[in-house]
Structure formats: structure tokens, C-alpha cells
């Protein structure tokens, strides 16, 4: 089944190369979120680790979304 919107796939940013980079980015972020299950952190270390990581990722997302304005 092919639809009229097939050409939609043509503007995939970075093509298949970009797709792989995105997949790697997803794997990295999931792995980093899983670190506290592997490395035991003392006290409130886990709390600050997760919040810090999410904050950094939000900042990274902000910088990338800003490129849409160009």
C-alpha cells in the first residue's frame, strides 16, 4: 500500500545516516539513565545525578530546536 504522502520520507534530516545517529543518541540517553542501577551512589547522589542529566538533555534539546528557526 502506497499513499500520496510517500514523498514525506524524502526530507528525513540526514537521511539514513541521521537516522542511525538518532538511534545511537537514544541508546546513549537510556544507558546514562540506567547508570544508578549499576553504580551505587551514596546519599542523594542518585537524585542529583538524574536531575542533572535531565537538565543537560533539556538544554541540548533547546539548542537543537533553536536550529529549526534558521
Amino acid at each position: 500500500m502506497v499513499s500520496a504522502s510517500d514523498n514525506f520520507n524524502s526530507f528525513s534530516p540526514g537521511g539514513s545516516h541521521g537516522r542511525w545517529l538518532r538511534a545511537i543518541e537514544g541508546l546513549i540517553i537510556v544507558s546514562l539513565m540506567s547508570v544508578p542501577f549499576i553504580v551505587r551512589m551514596k546519599g542523594i547522589g542518585t537524585y542529583f545525578y538524574w536531575v542533572g542529566l535531565a537538565l543537560l538533555y533539556l538544554l541540548y534539546s533547546y539548542l537543537e530546536v533553536r536550529r529549526w528557526e534558521d
Binding site: 504522502s5 514525506f8 520520507n9 540517553i29 539513565m33 542518585t46 537524585y47 538524574w50 533539556l58 528557526e69
Partner: protein, 431 residues
């Protein structure tokens, strides 16, 4: 209002003309619900810091997926005049696939929507309102809101109520810290501040976090919100502002849960065994102004989520199941019918809030291969989509009913693996 709600695109999508700020707040208010202030506070209180990781994995997953997929989905929805999320699946997999997706969403989102009604009813119960009366009252407001305003009305009230949610969470955490003597949980039991612990084993974390990670693509009520920003700039702002809201709100809510746990260990706050009653118990201790503000915010969070879901489901019922793509009246009748079903389910209070919410998203995981196929593939097949959804749906529901985790792998992961395998296998055969 009547003059504005002429057709379905206006009623369900506010004519795709929302700005970035309103889009972000309606996205946030739709996503963050009674689950947060009641469910997540209680989960953090009883199981510890793992609840923060679970919720933040949702947030980073959403940022990751929206940055990549939202521009494509937004553009596709405009080009093809897509109104209901299931039409995305219909586009490349045929009408029956979209219809099936709509039916599965209707089935899956009833538990999640009932969570909102249960949350408000539990809260009202602390003020002497019988649980079932609370369910009926909340259901009535949910239906009324959707019927009156459609997407435009809901989006603007979401924006206002999102502000109330954030302010009241901040006020409650500050009050607990200053008046009950919380000390940023320093000295709290180590097992609460560490993962893995008795509750947050790696398997449990994966089990709960997998459907949460893909929430932004599989849950139609949030997927539909990607259609509404007026341009790409507004879409980008929606993503970043939503992420900022989500991070602050998650930090406040989990901080509250950990502070209360610390206070319980020090004999200041009573020990609560039913985790969904932690926040209602706390509200019995706070001053009246804060009680009103927080109660309002919980009611607002619950109602904004519930009416957004009911509105989205009614668009799917009207367009995908019944094939009515012009008149709004069918969607409005859907709102009434769906609300009654949700009230009936909620009145039985079947499980903890968090578990019910995750169950809904696990069932919806079966749609992920078809959604990704729509975006990534040039050629697809209708059988691959239909059978992957059926197999994923059966896997999730049967494993949930019988509490099965074969080979120690969580049933949410099985749902994803099976639906994806069936999709790819049949796609290969169909080609």
C-alpha cells in the same frame, strides 16, 4: 463559542492555530495528571528515588522522540488533513488498521482516564464526599468541559490550569519544608535513596519505564497535540517549554514524596500504607489556603487530562470507527458515552494509580510499529499493521491479567517485541 465550532478540524484541533506557549501548556496539562500529585508522590514516598528515574526517563524519552518525530508528524498531519491520531496509521496501512487502532485506544485509555477520576474522588473523600459521588461529579465536569469548548476551550483552560499545578506544587513543597521541618531528606534510609532496592529492581524499572518512554508516540491524546501548533517555530517552543515544565514539576513532586518519607521516619508525618493516600493525608495538615490551592491543582490536573483524552477518543470514535468526518455531533455523543464508561470503571477502583496508568500505556505499545512504519517506510502492508496490533494487544492484556513475565522479561517488553516482530515479519511477506 458555537460559531467557532463549525467543523471537526476546529472542534478537535482548534484549526491548528495554537501558539508555542499555549501548545506547551496544553501538552503538559494533558500529560501531567492526578498521576503526579497523588500517584507519583505516593510512589516516591513508598519506594524511593527510583520513582524519579522512572518519571525522568519518560521526560527525556519524550524530548528525544518529539525532537525527531514531531516535525514529521506535524507536517504530515497538515499535508494529509489528519485530525485523529489513528488516521496517521490509516494513511499507509489502510482504513481497517486505523479503525483497529482507534478501538484499541478506546479500550486502553479507559483505565488511564479512570485514574483521573479516582484521584479526584480520593481527594474529595478526605473532605467527606463519598467516593462514588466524587466519581460522578468529576465525570460530569470532564464531559461538560469537552462538550462546551472542544480543543480550543480545553487548550486555553489547560494553559491556565498548568500554571496552577506548578504554583501549588511549589507552595506545598515549600510549606512542608518550612513548617514540618523537612531537611532535603538527608538522613533518610539509604535504601530509599538508592536503586536498585526492594521495589525498584532493574526488571521493575524496565517494566514500568518502557511504555513510559514511548508515551509521546503511542498515547493518542498527546500525539494529537503535535498537530495543533500554528507553525514549526511554535512546535519547537512547545517541545522545549513542555520539557522545562516537566522537569520542574517532576522534581517538585518527587521531592515532596521523599521529604514526607523522611518526616515519617522522624515521627512527624504518619506512616501511610496505601500510597495513593499520602497526598490526601498531607492535605489534612496544611492551612486552608494551601489546601484549596493544592486541591484545585489536583482537580485541574485530573480534569485537563481526562477531558483531553475523552476529546481525542471521541475524534477517533467519530472519524475512524464510525467514518463521520464532518459533523461534530457524533464526537459530542462520543464524549458523553465515553465518560459514562470511564465513570463505571473508576467506581470499582481496581488498582493503584501508577499501575493503572502504566497498564494503559503498555496496551498502547502495540501501535508503535505501525506509527513508526507510517513515518519511516515508503511501502507498508495492511496485514502487518493489523496483526502486529492484535498480537501486541493480546500479549499485554493476557500477561497483565495472569501476571506473567516469561523468562523474567517484563510484559511491556514482550508486548513491544512481539508486535514489532509480527509487523516486520508480515511486512516482509506482504512485499
Amino acid at each position: 463559542m458555537r460559531a467557532r465550532t463549525r467543523d471537526q478540524e476546529d472542534y478537535f484541533l482548534a484549526r491548528r492555530r495554537l501558539g508555542g506557549l499555549v501548545s506547551s501548556l496544553t501538552y503538559a496539562a494533558t500529560t501531567y495528571s492526578a498521576f503526579m500529585m497523588i500517584g507519583l508522590v505516593g510512589l516516591t514516598y513508598s519506594t524511593g528515588v527510583g520513582a524519579l528515574g522512572f518519571e525522568l526517563l519518560y521526560l527525556v524519552g519524550t524530548l528525544f522522540l518529539l525532537r525527531y518525530y514531531a516535525p514529521r508528524i506535524w507536517e504530515l498531519s497538515r499535508k494529509e488533513k489528519i485530525v485523529s491520531p489513528s488516521e496517521l496509521i490509516s494513511l499507509k496501512h489502510g482504513r481497517n488498521s486505523g479503525r483497529l487502532s482507534a478501538v484499541i485506544s478506546l479500550f486502553a485509555l479507559i483505565p488511564y482516564t479512570s485514574v483521573q477520576l479516582i484521584g479526584v474522588a480520593l481527594l474529595l473523600n478526605r473532605f467527606g464526599v463519598p467516593f462514588h459521588t466524587g466519581i460522578i461529579l468529576t465525570g460530569f465536569i470532564v464531559a461538560l468541559w469537552g462538550l462546551l469548548g472542544g480543543m480550543r476551550g480545553i487548550a486555553w483552560t489547560d494553559a491556565f490550569q498548568g500554571g496552577i499545578m506548578l504554583f501549588s506544587a511549589l507552595a506545598l513543597v515549600s510549606w512542608v519544608h518550612l513548617h514540618l521541618g523537612g531537611s532535603l531528606f538527608i538522613g533518610t534510609e539509604e535504601k530509599i535513596l538508592e536503586v536498585p532496592n526492594e521495589f525498584w529492581t532493574p526488571v521493575k524499572f524496565i517494566s514500568l519505564a518502557t511504555p513510559w518512554f514511548f508515551f509521546s508516540l503511542t498515547n493518542p491524546q498527546v500525539l494529537q497535540r503535535v498537530f495543533v501548533p500554528k507553525n514549526k517555530l511554535a512546535l519547537g517552543r512547545m517541545i522545549v517549554l513542555f520539557g522545562s515544565f516537566g522537569l520542574v514539576y517532576t522534581v517538585l513532586v518527587t521531592l515532596l514524596g521523599l521529604e514526607l518519607r523522611f518526616l515519617t521516619e522522624n515521627g512527624v508525618f504518619p506512616k501511610i500504607l496505601d500510597r495513593d493516600l499520602v497526598t490526601p493525608t498531607l492535605l489534612g495538615l496544611v492551612p486552608e489556603w494551601l489546601l484549596i490551592a493544592v486541591s484545585l491543582s489536583i482537580v485541574a490536573a485530573a480534569i485537563t487530562t481526562a477531558n483531553s483524552i475523552v476529546l481525542t477518543l471521541s475524534s477517533m470514535l467519530s472519524r475512524d470507527v464510525l467514518g463521520e468526518k464532518r459533523r461534530v455531533v457524533v464526537g459530542k455523543m462520543g464524549i458523553v458515552g465515553l465518560t459514562i464508561m470511564v465513570m463505571a470503571f473508576a467506581s470499582k477502583r481496581p488498582d493503584y494509580i501508577v499501575e493503572l496508568a502504566v497498564l494503559s500505556s503498555t496496551i498502547l505499545l502495540c501501535q508503535l510499529p505501525s506509527i513508526l512504519g507510517t513515518i519511516h517506510l515508503k511501502k507498508t502492508g495492511k496485514h502487518s499493521s493489523i496483526f502486529s496490533m492484535i498480537s501486541g494487544f493480546l500479549t499485554s492484556t493476557l500477561m497483565a491479567i495472569y501476571s506473567l513475565n516469561p523468562l523474567g522479561i517484563p510484559y511491556s517488553v514482550w508486548t513491544l517485541l512481539i508486535s514489532l516482530s509480527v509487523y516486520l515479519l508480515l511486512l516482509r511477506l506482504e512485499r
